[in-house]
Symmetry: C2
Subunit: 194 residues, 2 copies
């Protein structure tokens, strides 16, 4: 997740086991999990390597995200409480703080936490599950590309100010349009990295 092992790196079970001071079994279990979360790729009898995460895959992720996030937003907008808005404001301020320190990893966590609020409030567990997958892939992509991202950290943070304002206005169309532009904007910044 943090990009510590780069894509393509082959994980040797016995090495990992001895580095953690455990036997093969727990390492195998962990690898099995990571395989199914899509972080590792494996071929039978050939071991596991860190999965690649291509730009084209991220394009697909963003298409899916736009689809479900606009839907969730529309549906949960009426239920949005003052408390929720306070929480979003709080996250926005944390984002600004972290942006100045150029801490990319902490920033993306906050950014995604901001959007998570809507999915969690909405209460559809299946959609939440899809969002979790999107979140994970996004985090990983940012971790991998890292250094190229933080040029615009403050710009992205400020963008969330606009989102909050739109939510406060309560006008559905302007909320959807603001979000659509936001999501596409972040994606556009990402795609320029490669």
């Amino acid at each position: 997740m943090r990009g510590e092992y780069h894509p393509g790196y082959r994980l040797i079970i016995l090495d990992i086991a001895s580095s953690f001071g455990v036997s093969q079994a727990p390492v195998r279990e962990a690898i099995e999990r990571l395989k199914h979360e899509g972080l590792l790729k494996a071929e039978p009898n050939r071991g596991s390597t860190v999965a690649h995460l291509s730009l084209s895959e991220m394009r697909e992720v963003y298409e899916l995200r736009e689809l479900i996030e606009l839907y969730v937003l529309e549906r949960m907008l009426p239920q949005l409480s003052a408390e929720d808005l306070a929480k979003l404001n709080e996250l926005y301020e944390s984002m600004c703080r972290v942006a100045q320190k150029d801490d990319v990893f902490a920033f993306i966590e906050l950014d995604l936490a901001f959007h998570s609020l809507f999915y969690e409030r909405y209460g559809n567990g299946q959609i939440l599950g899809v969002w979790r997958g999107i979140k994970e892939k996004t985090t990983r992509f940012v971790s991998i590309t890292n250094q190229l991202y933080f040029a615009d950290l403050m710009v992205i943070a400020k963008g969330h100010r606009g989102l909050i304002d739109a939510l406060q206005s309560g006008d559905l169309d302007s909320v959807k349009e603001t979000y659509r532009r936001h999501i596409e904007g972040v994606w556009g910044r990402m795609r320029q990295m490669l």
Copy 2:
């Protein structure tokens, strides 16, 4: 998947291992996979049980399905080839054949294969992944509730005739409306089971 082990059933590793004539390791690996596919649920040191699949969960699944299927349909409609339509017709006829034999499991496979065509043609791997999850949950739910489903098998089969006709007309709005009614109709039939 076939409902052989019913929800709540506890899987004992050593029993399964000896029944397959293998040791614990491969059984553990399989369980780990099934856990992450959501078919099993596990608590640490307390073993694994077959996951329950509630009606409320299926409601969520159908909400998600309607969202993404209408989207995919809209986007890939222009690319739909005569070949695709022939394939859909073929599946429709198989459905009718199987419906008469009251083979619920075979029927649901055909039904889902019908809808899979759109997702596979569309070419967004992330969305396809979401669909795979939906497919799996649906199959399982039908397997579990089984006997209650096949009263309407022929009705559901015939419904696909209408979908093909709508697709052939090429009119987006009528396609979307037909599909929306179809998806909600199948869901309505399901919810009546409980």
